[in-house]
């Protein structure tokens, strides 16, 4: 080893550094070697009579026992008892601010010595959390069977407690505003002389050590997609709540989410879909594309068979049928939401007029048709009032026998429209606010709608599942 490096290390040990910290403060991050760190740690622990019997002035005991083993054991037992099924994990440390400041102070001291020996020496060093993770990784991997991976969707965060952190930060707070975010940047932008004059040449030796406080984990969201049918005319898509009171017992969202929540063990979920239908509208055909974001799921592996099982569980409810259930990634979710305006939706409306049937051929012949639609009065209380142009791509109307003579003539219209068109208003005109509408096209002021079904959302999403 370079003689100068050895000399500085000895100085650090005398000041009260543990061996691991003395080594890492003189190691470039790119040349780090776990074996060197572990050797340093073993040497420390096998030599009970160290130069100074205090918590390390750099890491405050992070690399020293009993803290070191205790933290590893806490992480292992957490991963073993929590239900996360991820094969990998990543670690994050929430270290008290004062450990960063201590590191900075030592780094200043080291670089001052280095420059006096050899001005070309690099000053970058291995930070405490990186060194700790490298050293502890093997033990955690062996005990849990999970691989360490910095890109893992499962992030385990360890929190620490240190009694004197406030006092140690206060001396700097007087001249600069410290914050947990970018603390390293704030420190390196400080004038070194100012820092030393406030903080001292080296960190003070303390009595108390850093202590383990908490361990928790969070898994990245998992996205599940599918298509749903709604066979009921008394079911809303999302919970219907007015003034904090439930109006209907259930909803499509809840019927679909409950079994998924149970299987994935999630904190919460977010439901989204390509548009929505009214409570009294059925969703037929190949169904409406939807996606559910599972937030912090513990179980994330859904085999083909499990997906079918979840579908069957959902489909026990006679009001809803789900199919093509599958995992998707975030970019696929964006496809669902992109170009929403231009998607084509197909509806069937059961309409009627008082008296004789008008000439339905007028409907078949008038498309494509540009209409202008003001925000319907029934949603105007919660939406902005504006007029939107919408395209009716095609219409096909046929007379319908309903088996009851109530003085009305019935007809069915299959309407293919631009997404976002309000169909009920396109039939009756909403006090003239949707124009043209079936009333104006047929020249009959009694045209109205009795029932509406969605026949198709013309989006090929998600990829069909082979059954």
């Amino acid at each position: 080893m370079d003689q100068n490096v050895e000399e500085i290390q000895q100085k650090l040990l005398k000041f009260g550094c543990c061996r691991v910290c003395a080594v890492r403060h003189l190691t470039k991050p790119s040349t780090i070697n776990v074996k060197t760190l572990i050797a340093a740690s073993e040497q420390d622990h096998n030599e009970p009579k160290r130069l100074k019997n205090n918590p390390c002035i750099a890491c405050l005991g992070l690399f020293q026992n009993p803290q070191y083993d205790n933290i590893i054991n806490k992480i292992i037992s957490y991963l073993k008892t929590s239900d996360y099924d991820s094969d990998t994990f990543n670690l994050a440390f929430n270290l008290p601010m004062c450990t960063i400041i201590r590191g900075h102070s030592i780094a200043l001291y080291v670089s001052k010595l280095r420059i006096s020996f050899n001005p070309t020496f690099p000053t970058a060093f291995v930070c405490a959390k990186d060194a700790w993770k490298l050293m502890a990784e093997d033990a955690i991997v062996k005990a849990t069977g999970k691989r360490f991976d910095v890109h893992s969707p499962l992030l385990v965060t360890v929190g620490f407690h240190y009694n004197d952190t406030k006092d140690e930060c206060d001396c700097l707070n007087a001249i600069i505003k410290l914050s947990n975010k970018n603390l390293q940047n704030i420190l390196s932008q400080m004038d070194n002389k100012d820092f030393v004059s406030q903080y001292g040449e080296m960190p003070a030796i303390t009595e108390s050590t850093i202590e383990f406080k908490s361990v928790e984990a969070r898994h990245e969201s998992v996205y599940i997609a599918g298509r749903y049918n709604k066979w009921s005319r008394t079911l809303s898509q999302t919970p219907w709540i007015v003034d904090q009171e439930r109006r209907l017992e259930s909803s499509v969202e809840e019927i679909i989410s409950e079994p998924l929540k149970k299987h994935a063990l999630v904190d919460e979920f977010r439901f989204s879909s390509s548009g929505r239908e009214d409570i009294d509208v059925r969703m037929l055909g190949r169904g409406r594309p939807f996606a559910i974001e599972l937030v912090n799921p513990k179980r994330t592996k859904f085999s083909y068979e499990v997906m079918r099982e979840i579908e069957n569980e959902i489909n026990i409810d006679p009001q809803v049928t789900v199919k093509h259930l599958q995992g998707i990634n975030k970019s696929q979710l964006k496809e669902l939401k992109s170009g929403e305006e231009f998607k084509i939706k197909v509806y069937e409306a059961l309409c009627y007029v008082e008296g004789e049937l008008p000439d339905l051929d007028k409907l078949n012949k008038c498309t494509p048709l540009e209409i202008s639609q003001f925000t319907p009065i029934r949603v105007l209380h919660r939406r902005a009032n504006m007029s939107r142009p919408r395209t009716i791509h095609s219409m096909k109307a046929t007379a319908t026998k309903v088996g009851i003579d109530n003085g009305c003539s019935f007809f069915n219209v299959i309407v293919s429209t631009q997404a976002g068109t309000y169909i009920k208003e396109f039939v009756h005109g909403d006090l003239g606010r949707t124009n043209p509408c079936l009333r104006t096209i047929l020249g009959n002021n009694t045209v109205d709608i009795l029932a509406l079904d969605v026949l198709d959302i013309e989006i090929d999403w998600p990829t069909p599942v082979k059954y």
Partner: protein, 189 residues
């Protein structure tokens, strides 16, 4: 779509889904109209203590109020030449700018505020008054080109305005209006 149909498409057999006409109950009589389905009909009479300043207020289940002429309004039976929406030096009812779902910036009217001024073919001039206070969400712009729909189709194309009463005052405002029955009885006596 074909790809899907090759597989087991539905758990529910498509044939077992009732057709649209089988999926709803067909009423024995003429079904209720749009206005009957969604609105409660109320009336305000002699607004501002002026005789026959009578208005119909259709209250939607979401509390929006559609204002129109009642059958007993002074204008009924006349012919309208022109409607003026400039109700004061600075207020024009058709340039009512608002933004967002909160309708920020919308003109606010009181019960008795002038909504427009009607010029009749007989030379008479009538102020159309608001029967309820609240935000003016919409003034029926069709009245500018075809003013007589106000008389011919009052509860449909010829409505005057849409007003959103303040939520806290809604019940009080509603209770201050005549019900359909009260309005009928009043007209008989």
């Amino acid at each position: 779509m074909d790809v899907i149909k090759n597989g087991r498409d539905f758990d529910v057999d498509e044939d077992s889904v009732p057709s649209i006409e089988e999926s709803v109950e067909i009423p024995e009589h003429i079904p209720p109209s749009v206005v009957q389905r969604y609105y409660e009909s109320r009336y305000a009479t002699d607004v501002n203590n002026k005789p026959n300043q009578d208005y119909s207020v259709l209250i939607h289940s979401n509390n929006l109020c559609i204002l129109s002429l009642a059958p007993t309004h002074a204008l009924m039976g006349k012919t309208i030449d022109k409607i003026d929406f400039q109700v004061s030096g600075s207020t024009h009812r058709l340039t009512n700018m608002m933004t967002g779902k909160g309708k920020r910036g919308a003109q606010v009217v009181q019960a008795g505020s002038t909504l427009c001024i009607v010029h009749c073919s007989d030379g008479e001039e009538h102020k159309i008054l608001s029967a309820v206070p609240g935000k003016l969400v919409e003034m029926n712009s069709k009245l500018a080109e075809t003013p007589n729909i106000m008389l011919e189709k009052p509860d449909d194309l010829g409505f005057i305005a849409i007003i959103l009463p303040q939520k806290q005052r809604f019940e009080k405002i509603k209770n201050g209006l005549l019900t359909k029955e009260q309005y009928k009885i009043r007209n008989c006596t």
